[in-house]
Amino acid sequence: MRTITEVSERIVETPSTVTLRFRYTPAASPGQFVMIWLPGDDELPMSLSYTGEPKGVTIKAMGATTRAALSVQKGDLVGIRGPYGNHFDLTPRRILLVGGGSGTAVLAPAAEAAARAGSTVVAALGATTAAELLFVDRARAFSNRVEVATDDGTQGHHGYVTDVSQRLLREDSFDAVWTCGPEIMMRKVIAASEARHVPVYCSMERQMKCALGMCDACALGPYHVCSDGPVFPAERLTPLPEFGRTKRDSSGRRVPL
């Protein structure tokens, strides 16, 4: 059962990233994802970047389909099913957000909800370049400490967002770290946090087909990212030989990340 719904708003977030908003009424929690079908093209897993009405996804052009998704216009029809998967634990506490690139898409609504529920959120957001930084303004609304990093130094720290998060972990104390981004980045976040005994929750991405915990496309060690995740506590990921190293392609073969 898909719901065919109209894109009610299209927001260009960065040169490579757009947000699509649409009416889709099933209840969703931050961290969950939907399968979004671009009729005539592929169907993709996308975290909800807005979990209230109208819901929204924020898509970064990575390959053919996500590039096609960028050309979806207001009024176009898309197919939505879900939401699927687990979500972030919103118990109030001190949370450090570490977002890399489009990874910030799933962290933003979670942080918003956590802040509303009484959490204190500090955000470290990274991108290749200033123009690609995502949701910095949105982060300023839920956090009074937002630090950014760019690979080319065009804004904030010149270097990796993990440099920033490492510093924040030293300077401040946190009850939890939430992160989403390239796995190599998340590995670094985990290493730094573990050193300080702060639990880390990673939002993972894998190829998805069924999103129902059936087809094995998203198999990650003993887990299915679609139904056991996408949010995993770090201690479940670090023992996995594939974490940060390999994924499976559409055929199920292991390939380097």
Binding site: R2, I4, W37, E43, A211, C215, S251
Partner: protein
């Protein structure tokens, strides 16, 4: 307490509830997961000679709680890569049945040989995928080709060979007879029912491939009819499937003539916990019905027509 053990083609299984092919079976860890969750046997994803990406998404459509349509397109890592996955499952002690598909008897035989070499307890030949041109379905609808394929595989391997049949035929037992004559050690049935979803508003098929295969509760009556009719026409054991969700569903398949069953779509609807629940429910139900062992039910509804 009822004894859930069952024997199919000389192989003994700790219970009759197998993981169906194509569900959780692409990776060794998942096979192991289903085994650890209580499955009596685990059938691998159908494996071919080469890695295959399968069809693009959408590959799935669901219908409330009564059915699911899929056209995965037989994605699989290929027989070169796959043995390492089986290794993971075998190391965990799982009873693994290796499923293969091919375009002709030769390919089936070659694949069967390599699959058998991984140490699986039996082979399942996918003669029945309803949505992959040239890969099993055309073969599986022609008794002559079924005979050829099964014979070729039987010559190539020593493990028992299970022929998995399509319900999309006017006379499924005819295919079963062909498999039996060619030396198949067991029949499994059914694969999915040819079907399609179209979106009224978008004016296009929902699945990228167009048509697909229906599974889940909606096809239980279809699977039961096939198993029943096959049981009346062949002597080799039958592994039944299609829409199993409850202990009574399992019992119905046993009564129709199955010695074991496979569970597929219920894993999507309920999670892998379905194996433990089904096992417990089945024990309780058999006890309540004063059935001592699974074998006592196999085919027991035959000869008891509903009316005189």
């Amino acid at each position: 307490m009822a004894d859930l053990r069952t024997t199919v083609a000389g192989i003994s299984f700790r219970n009759p509830l197998w993981l169906a092919s194509g569900i959780w079976g692409e990776s060794g860890n998942s096979l192991k997961g289903a085994w650890d969750a209580g499955a009596g046997g685990v059938v691998t994803k159908s494996i071919g000679s080469e890695p295959r990406m399968g069809y693009p998404n959408p590959t799935i459509e669901t219908y409330d709680n009564w059915g699911m349509l899929n056209a995965m397109g037989l994605p699989n890592p290929g027989i070169d890569e796959y043995p390492q996955e089986i290794g993971v499952a075998r190391d965990a002690g799982a009873t693994v049945i290796g499923s293969v598909f091919g375009a002709d008897a030769d390919e089936f035989a070659r694949l069967g040989e390599r699959m058998a070499a991984t140490g699986v307890v039996a082979l399942e030949l996918n003669l029945s995928c309803p949505h992959a041109k040239g890969l099993g379905s055309e073969i599986g609808q022609d008794p002559d080709q079924v005979r050829e394929v099964v014979s070729a595989v039987k010559r190539a391997v020593r493990v028992p060979v299970i022929a998995k049949l399509t319900p999309n035929h006017y006379d499924v037992p005819l295919l079963a007879e062909a498999a039996e004559k060619a030396g198949a050690d067991a029949i499994s049935a059914i694969n999915t029912v040819r079907a399609m979803a179209i979106d009224a508003r978008l004016r296009r098929p929902v699945l990228a491939h167009g048509s697909g295969g229906l599974s889940g509760p909606a096809i239980k009556p279809v699977g039961l009819a096939c198993v029943w009719q096959i049981f009346e026409r062949v002597k080799i054991p039958i592994v039944g499937m299609g829409g199993i969700e409850t202990a009574d569903d399992v019992i119905e398949y046993l009564l129709a003539g199955a010695r074991a069953v496979q569970v597929g779509t219920a894993v999507a609807f309920e999670g892998v916990g379905v194996f433990r629940r089904l096992g417990e429910e089945l024990t309780r139900r058999l006890d309540a019905l004063h059935v001592v062992q699974v074998a006592d039910l196999v085919g027991a509804a035959h000869g008891a027509p509903a009316a005189p």
